[in-house]
């Protein structure tokens, strides 16, 4: 494994760690940023899955070097499009919830709290 690949592997690890940490925060905008970072991490992991790099995988490139594996690139492209669309939706959702409750904090679930309180009352 080359040095470049190892630094990418470390980058995937860092992206996942930071992404999951942000995902667990209460502020919605941090959650969205966390998801974006996780998406980047997963896409990098996909690219790494293709093995060593090489020339662009085009027919008739006139180049004898081995070509890079095109399949993970195609998959990463598709995944980028999907995460892009979903991020836009998440941002809209976060904006709506700011409009509706004046802040972007995730609240505790009311029904959960009510059921918990009922049990305490019965005891």
């Amino acid at each position: 494994m080359t040095g470049a690949a190892i630094s990418l592997v470390i980058a995937v690890g860092v992206l996942f760690a930071v992404g999951f940490d942000l995902l667990l925060q209460r502020s919605l905008i941090r959650v969205v940023v966390g998801f974006v970072l996780l998406g980047h991490g997963a896409n990098l992991a996909l690219l790494l899955a293709g093995g060593a790099g090489g020339r662009a995988p085009l027919l008739g490139g006139g180049d004898d070097r081995p070509a890079a594996d095109p399949l993970p690139q195609a998959m990463a492209l598709t995944a980028i499009v999907i995460t892009f669309g979903v991020t836009a939706f998440l941002l809209a959702l976060a904006y709506r919830s700011v409009l509706m409750q004046d802040d972007d904090e995730v609240r505790d679930d009311l029904e959960d709290r009510r059921v918990g309180r009922d049990r305490e009352d019965e005891e």
């Binding site: 998801f35 899955a49 598709t78 979903v86 998440l90 709506r96 919830s97 609240r107």
Partner: protein
Amino acid sequence: MNVLVPLPFVLPLLGAALALAMRNHGRALRVLGTVFLIGVVGSTAALLHAVARDGVVAVQVSGLPAPLGITLVADRLSALLLVVSGVVLLAIMLYAAGEGGLSAEEPGVFYPAYLTLTAGVCLVFLAGDLFNLFVAFEVMLASSYVLLTLTPTRERMQAGMTYTVVSLTSSILFLTAVGLAYAATGTVNLADLSGRTAELPPGTRSALGLLFLVVFGIKAAVVPMHLWLPDSYPAALTKITAVFAALLTKAAVYSLIRVQTLLFPRDDASMPMLALAAATMIVGTLGALAQDDLHRVLSFVLVAHIGYMLFGLALFTVAGLAGAILYLVHHIVVQATLFLVSDIMQIETGEKSLRRLGGLAGGSAFTAVLFLIPALSVSGIPPLSGFVAKLALFQAGIGAGGAWGRAVTGVAALTGLLTLMAMTRVWTLAFWRPRPPGSGASPEVREVAPRHGLRPIRTVTAAMVGSGLMLVVLAGPLSAWSRDAAQSLADRTAYRNAVLHGGEAP
């Protein structure tokens, strides 16, 4: 005949595009949605017929040979699930069209999103490679995010956020798992993978297997990864909750069955999965007993019964898989029916809280019957379809599961009783006792009454109860079909030959 395979998801996608183009014509949308879903049901029925005649049918999209191109596969399991899902999707579409109330507020959003959801569900059942399966899940989930947050209220926005973030987390893990599987084997084609995972070192193999278990476990709401479900499903419009409860978690269970049997086959029962199944059943039913909101009770029942399907898979025997398939079919129909009935109960009383519901049996005996049949069925009372499916699972668990299999069978029987208790609780509180004072004045009352009265939606719900009863009538052929499906899942050669060798043995 090969053109039949892509039809179940191409048709609704086409319908969704048309629905978007004419999003301002509510009446035309209702007709269009119904026509396209009838088309889906027809094409899935034709596919079922083709699979019954020819065995596994595989199509290589754009003609590229198997491990390179995109593969669509229909075998006995996917064909059966396609037909059942098609019928349930059509029924709920008719319910929405007959209701004409809430869905009429945003028909331009509801119908395209619903048709896209249909396409996603069908593609999950047909996908022949891991990446395509991922895309299918994204199509299905992206439309479900839209449907869940339709006519937004504060509660719905919050539930939508929980649901979206949890689903996306599992999707990211899924994508990573696809990448890792590709790095380890150099292919994402399921049939090709099934040959190559056997050569992997045991550590890599079990790590991949566990990762897929977590990915689909989150999507299927397996305890302890179930916490998102009862917090998000009940917030949606009830008919949408009915689709979600019937199909989304089941699509994940299907994928789990497909991936585990094809990629990680084993000869003995899987201990971790047996433990997860037992935990899911117990936690789910206890949750159902504790809740007050009717939709939450039903959501926890859903979680509990995912445990049964996992139990059938965890045994890794033909009988266990056959039981899991029967249970899938039974539960898709019965869970959708229960949610539809709960919607009618909510319209009649203006309440969905058990402490405020009451007096339904006196007012509308018909609704009482509509509730009682699926409630008894989900608890496993003979001779209803829940009993048939549970019996198959119990026989499989006692027959081949060893001591642990018998123990989990005991847990499953207990779960059946606890489900009966939860359903009896709903029955006594909502139907049997007189209406409590102050009922009908809660702030969570349904926003809009159905435009055409109760008759159309009651008819659709009665038809769903009827199809639940049909499962009992068809129990013989259905059991035989699921045994054959389980046999071919365990055997794997027919699937691999159809995909990799164009149907002939190598």
